[in-house]
Amino acid sequence: MQPNATIAPSTLSVKDLPWQILWHKDKCTLCGRCTAVCPVNAIELGVFRKRRIKVSLEPQGNPSSGFDIFHGIRQKTDPAYACVGCATCSLVCPNDAILPMRSDEADKLRFHINRGGQPRSRGGRRNVPGGILDQIKFIRISMLTDPALDAGRHEFEMRTLLGRILPPEQNLKFFNENGWIPPVREIYPLIIGGMSFGALSPNMWEGLQMGVAYLNEELGMPVRMCTGEGGCPPRLLRSPFLKYVILQIASGYFGWDEIIHAIPEMVEDPCAIEIKYGQGAKPGDGGLLMWHKVNKLIAAIRGVPPGISLPSPPTHQTQYSIEESVAKMIQSMYMAWGFRVPVYPKISASSTAMAVLNNLTRNPYAAGLAIDGEDGGTGAAYNVSMDHMGHPIATNIRDGYLNLVKVGMQNEIPIFAGGGVGKNGNLAANAATLIMLGASGVQTGKYIMQAAAGCLGSETDRCNICNIGRCPRGITSQDPRLYRRLDVEKVAERVVDLYLAFDMELKKILAPLGRSTALPIGMSDALGISDYYAAQRLSIKYVV
């Protein structure tokens, strides 16, 4: 830019962007791979003009100057093309000549990504690192008064129940009298949370399903995966593997035409039905699949025309009151599968979550409650929803559990916790913490994407462009040129790796606590934290 040119309000320099591209002229071979691969076209081939001064070595000689031209990489400063720091350019560069670096101060871009009056929307997660789960430690170590167990030698029963469990007296009575006992599934306490076919690429979805099937069939781990709101591929609906799948129904009812029609041809019942009322990442907002991702296949599965954005309403349109309509919806879902499949709602964590839970205690069909905290992920949402809306998961789970204890129903309605489990890589520790706070199990999505497919997203706003269908790893894209980067078999292998590692870590937590015969749900005496108020709030020990 010329020094005297006009500058528009949104004219930014490279320094104003959150990521700056460092490019080494001497290493670059101008192969063009980086510019070709960049998912947001943040870099382009640049032509640079450089003045060269020649100094004469002769005593009387005059210096002269000339101009050289050279080619290289130029970073765009238009807010629409700002680098997202994914570092895919570095990944493909044969000479390590290019690297995105985070700016040393807060960017100015944030004030300008609302052109045309459109606030920023993106995929990913809340841009706030840290969290309370990682501050909680396990302090009740068995030592001499009761011996610690051996994670490698003792038998461990790491199963949880999903389904409405009757109180023991009633349970025995119904058993003796051949009464109806609600269906209950014994499953692994780490569930792959709802990520839809559509939000995820076909390769990613298939890889997850294959991994889950392997864990079940070969390793005897009853791992379950939720479909999210996007239906389920027709072949899976008609396959025996459906029993490892939790089908989700949400306010857009996408894919349910296909599912309902497949019921007569199903050879196995699904594991459960999850009715999504809310999502932790964007509470009070409906699901959204942007038009870029609605190709022919997705459109067919969801029963919509291709190439249009698919927003789900923030709430189920037929719902007026929780008492009547939630109960009705749960019952209709039970009815569809002859009362053989557990049906439970999923809500976003919220200060109003207890009202929902209390209502479920009076609904004899509710098979559980999944609560999704503010640190949950999403395929697409407004930035403001992700960063500022929502409720932490820890207090919601704890309050919910203690509420159930008060009415003596802590074993009857299992609570599942989601949203930020394993956010900082500590999946087993976070899961164990939530279980000891009172959750029957946890749901996780982002950790799976990171560990099983190499998602680059972070809580400090790296990548997070899952909404536009240009996922550089091929995880959240419907473009075959991108998702073919993801090897289905390798994803499945990673799913198995991460579950086995989780299983070992969980044992390494439970064994020293002297627990192996049952999952330590509500074992809050094992938890401690050095934050006095947090300890009070969660009714756990304050330790310094």
Binding site: L172, G514, T517, G522, M523
Partner: protein, 376 residues
């Protein structure tokens, strides 16, 4: 670790046998306290089997309050044991005013009560007395039940026994349970001392129950007044026993299926697969997770022993027809029943429930893999 000893005998025996057996095992406890449970009593109580006996420790003021209270609700003293103690207690034993063992006559209006009403009322009175005592710190109540005497005190078991002169005919009993404490917390609350008792069910344990917190929460939320206390994690074993028998109508052979259920694969192959699956699911919050050895006594006077799923605690049962003993260690058994066939001694493992029934003729072993008797 604590040491446990229990005995069931055709002829009433002195509780000293149990305390001496405890002394033989003294390496395993630190002499910080003792608890005693006597049932199927001999001596004078033989004649008044139905009269409820109140056992506890009272200060003088507490005793006066007790008398007024019992009078008000129409209970008359029928028989009492007076325990006169030397002026100076042995080291470590606190000075108490009265160790009370007193049998009562039911009030007349109780004549119309059904058996179960009576049991509920007796429990209610014991809890009331306990609450009164806790308020003014002048009474500690261990049991209020027909044909049952309980005694708990801080100190070395044998010293306490000599101090209280327990070797008296009046205290002879056919069923005796005793526990020598290993102190794991400094301030000893007598309510934290084993054995524990509720409505005819008693148990004592060694080891610590790592799943105590959620189990306590579950029992407390059953809305049953007797499920209270929990100064010791081991009290839950007694309450789970009571819960499974009285509320669920299950037999003792099902107790282990509640506290240490089989793994899913074993359940699938079990003759009672359907029932066991339901029990495991609906009683999931009662799974104990060990490491514990539990010795208990049922209302019909049977004694039983079970181990946790990992079998991390010692425990052995042996004897001869007419007299059987349950002990943490073999040396306790040797002391109490030397004339037994030692080759028949049995150490229950992770699947076993050992029962010696009221006839005291044999040790029956019930393995969790066996079919359960039909539900009643």
């Amino acid at each position: 670790m604590c040491r446990l000893f229990a005995m069931t005998s055709e002829t009433p025996v002195s509780p000293m046998i149990a305390l001496e057996a405890m002394d033989v095992m003294r390496e395993g406890h630190d002499g910080s306290g003792v608890g005693l449970f006597l049932r199927d009593l001999g001596g004078p109580f033989e004649e008044i089997k139905n009269a409820p006996i109140l056992s506890g420790i009272f200060s003088e003021k507490g005793l006066r309050r007790l008398d007024t209270f019992m009078m008000d609700i129409g209970f008359m003293t029928k028989y009492k044991i007076t325990i006169k103690v030397p002026k100076i207690p042995p080291p470590g034993v606190p000075k108490r005013d009265t160790y009370l063992i007193r049998a009562y006559e039911y009030p007349e209006e109780w004549d119309d009560y059904s058996q179960s009403d009576r049991y509920e009322k007796l429990l209610e009175i014991r809890l009331q007395l306990r609450a009164m005592g806790e308020e003014k710190r002048d009474m500690i109540v261990f049991s209020f039940w027909p044909d049952v005497i309980m005694l708990k005190e801080i100190g070395d078991p044998l010293q306490v026994a000599n101090y209280l002169k327990l070797d008296r005919n009046e205290l002879h009993a056919r069923v005796i349970m005793a526990q020598g404490r290993q102190n794991t917390n400094y301030a000893i609350n007598l309510y934290a001392c084993h054995p524990f008792f509720i409505q005819g069910y008693a148990s004592m344990t060694n080891g610590e129950c790592t799943a105590f917190t959620p189990i306590r929460e579950f029992l407390l939320s059953r809305n049953y007044p007797g499920y209270t206390g929990y100064q010791s994690d081991s009290e839950i074993f007694t309450h789970i026993l009571h819960y499974t028998q009285t509320r669920l109508g299950l037999d003792i052979s099902a107790y282990k299926h509640i506290i240490t259920p089989l793994q899913d694969a074993a359940i699938a192959d079990h003759a009672n697969a359907g029932l066991l699956k339901q029990l495991k699911q609906s009683c999931r919050r009662l799974i104990i997770d060990g490491p514990n050895c539990v010795i208990g006594c049922l209302p019909d006077h049977s004694l039983f022993m079970v181990q946790d799923r990992k079998k991390l605690r010692p425990g052995v049962v042996g004897g001869r027809p007419g007299r059987y003993a349950f002990s943490s260690e073999v040396c306790g058994l040797d002391y109490a029943v030397p004339d037994r066939d030692k080759s028949q001694d049995f150490q229950p493992m992770h699947l076993d429930t050992v029962i010696v029934g009221p006839q005291r003729q044999e040790v029956s072993i019930c393995n969790q893999m066996q079919p359960l008797p039909p539900l009643h």
